[in-house]
Amino acid sequence: MTTSKKNIVMREKDMQKVSAQQKVVQALVKVGVYAFLLVMALIVLFPFYWMLISSVKTLEEYRMSVPTFWPQKIMLSNYVEAFTTANLGRLFLNTLYVGLVSTLLSLVITILCAFAFARLEFKGKETLFGLMLATMMIPGELFTITNYQTVTQLGWLNTFTVLIVPFLVSVFYIYLLKQNFMQIPNELYLAAKVDGTSDIKYLCKVMIPLALPTLISITILKMMGAWNSYIWPRLVANDAEHRLITNGLRNAFTETTGDVNYPVQMAAVAIVSAPLFLVFIFLRKYIMAGVSRSGIKG
């Protein structure tokens, strides 16, 4: 196999020309890529920007036929009005309470379950786990119909219990944590047994610290879930005492079209969105890690 005729040796001049051309093409591609990304980023960011500037405009300015991209006069009173109109303080507290309690209980249940599946031997383990995974296929709406009847019969309507208990078990979180626990070498558990360490102590001292990132991801996703839940709370606890933030927002501003007081509405939206953004800024790593594995929101 000799060097083929087609590989004619390029002369030096041609080569220089070729490499100059390459550089131009590469630079153009790079500019194109950045332009594309920046335009897309602007589109993604625009609704947030529009929410923020609209939330501080006066109603008159908002209604001007030529829109302003920076408010002429900054009306922070919109926020005060939004807060009182929608009774946001109460909604915040309700949501925080439901979120915290359900996260805590859910963590305990999930950890115990994951530990049993990951470390203990018992009859029917594989079958049970398989069945639990299978339920993940079924859309939640299918459960809601019966669950609504169940909680009605239990007399739980318009209580906090109804917002917390039905969703304490998440098969997906059990699966996630079990996988995490299984990565911890079994020798550690056997060694602990030899030393006479109790299961619970071992769980607290070894497994939980090692699985902490997953637990944090679960906590955040669960809290976000409480913050964003809409359908179930609307169905079972839509009274002023127990209403959660998303429902409160939708209830206070039922009109979306027509002549709405948008600045105040946008201020309310901004207030509701703010905690999520704060959490995101500080805990981005855990959220992204949890989300990329789950594919579900909350």
Partner: protein, 367 residues
């Protein structure tokens, strides 16, 4: 195609932003690779051998210096214009394509004048596959092949467009010991058959010595020695090269030159001409010892390992810089295993003397 490296240098900026230490991966490399030869770039990890290979391929750009393929300056030329074939350490076979698709892939990229008809491409692909003896595996996927077979596919893919130069990055490191022996013969055969100038990188000196026409020994970015394998082995220019080549490794000792004699410890093992008095490091190849009842070099006998054709005598000496001294003796010579000591005379051409500070070789004539 001959390849010329001229003052080739590659400096990586420091990864740590605080310290401004740059890493000089390759320092001022000059070398003319003759046409049609198999060259082994050899050295421990971090010596710059892979960086050199990647600069030849064009995947990395040199900081300064020039690379010529034949008479053409290719320093600034993009990889794909260089007409090279590159075999990666992990083969980089596309897992979603069959062997045939993998080998055809480079040909399908050709454009314009170089574009080939389907039949031509298939013919070429089968030619390359036959050359590496995988023409019966063409419809398999890479994960259905053994390591050795994957290696051959990678070579076929690199050869199929008839490169001007073939580059191999640690081609044998992912194979088990037996396959390694077999495959290195194979590489040698393919290179001979095609006559393509080939450069390969390895950290295994035995591998490099066994198949290369020329080896280049590198350390910390600096070329130590270039030459035919046997020449480099017989004539190392410094302690590093002497230690790096050879299995079992060379025995090294603290010693001195005094009054025209070379001493290991207190034993004057050789008389030499024209050598100034100084402290030195002495290296003796394992095959450089003769059992000699009246030999000048005294050692304490530890044990004798029988290896069939040869025996390996393990002994100790206070001046030795290695834990033990290992000498390879023809098994015809009887070693008295009862004795506590063993005495050697040294073969002059198997002993090298190095300056203690610079570790450079000290040349002299033996009386």
């Amino acid at each position: 195609m001959k390849v010329v490296l001229e003052n080739l240098t590659k400096i990586f900026p420091s990864r740590n932003k605080k310290s401004n230490e740059e890493v000089i991966a390759v320092n001022n490399f000059n070398f003319e690779i003759p046409d049609g030869k198999l060259i082994g770039l050899l050295g421990p990890s971090g010596c710059g051998k892979s960086t050199t290979l990647y600069m030849l391929s064009g995947l990395q750009k040199p900081t300064s210096g020039k690379i010529y393929f034949g008479d053409d300056d290719v320093t600034e030329l993009a990889t794909e214009k260089r007409g090279i074939g590159l075999v990666f350490q992990n083969y980089a076979l596309y897992p979603h394509m069959t062997v045939k698709q993998n080998i055809l892939f480079p040909l399908q990229n050709l454009k314009g004048e170089e574009k080939m008809s389907k039949e031509e491409m298939l013919e070429r692909a089968y030619y390359a596959a036959k050359l590496v003896q995988i023409d019966e595996l063409m419809d398999r996927k890479p994960n259905e092949l053994s390591g050795g077979q994957q290696q051959r596919v990678a070579i076929a893919r690199a050869l199929v467009k008839m490169p001007r130069i073939l580059l191999l990055d640690e081609p044998l490191s992912n194979l088990d010991a037996r396959l390694r022996l077999q495959t290195r013969e194979e590489i040698r055969r393919i290179q001979k058959e095609t006559g393509i100038t080939t450069v390969f990188v390895t950290h295994d000196q035995e591998e490099a010595m066994s198949i290369s026409d020329l080896i280049v020994v590198m350390k910390l970015g600096v070329v130590q020695q270039i030459g035919k394998p046997q020449e480099v082995y017989d004539n190392p220019v410094n302690l590093f090269v002497a230690k790096f080549l050879g299995t079992p490794p060379i025995n090294v000792f603290d010693g001195k030159i005094k009054g025209g004699k070379v001493y290991i410890g207190e034993d004057a093992v050789m008389e030499v001409k024209d050598a100034a008095d100084q402290d030195v490091i002495i290296g003796i190849r394992p095959e450089g010892f003769n059992l000699d009842e009246n030999g000048p070099f005294h050692c304490k006998l530890e044990n004798v390992e029988v290896m069939g054709r040869d025996v390996s005598v393990v002994s100790t000496n206070a001046a030795s810089l290695n834990p033990v001294i290992r000498s390879i003796i023809n098994s015809d010579n009887k070693v008295n295993t009862e004795s506590e000591t063993v005495r050697y005379s040294i073969k002059p051409h198997k002993m090298f003397v190095f300056n203690k500070e610079t570790e450079e070789r000290i040349y002299f004539e033996v009386k």
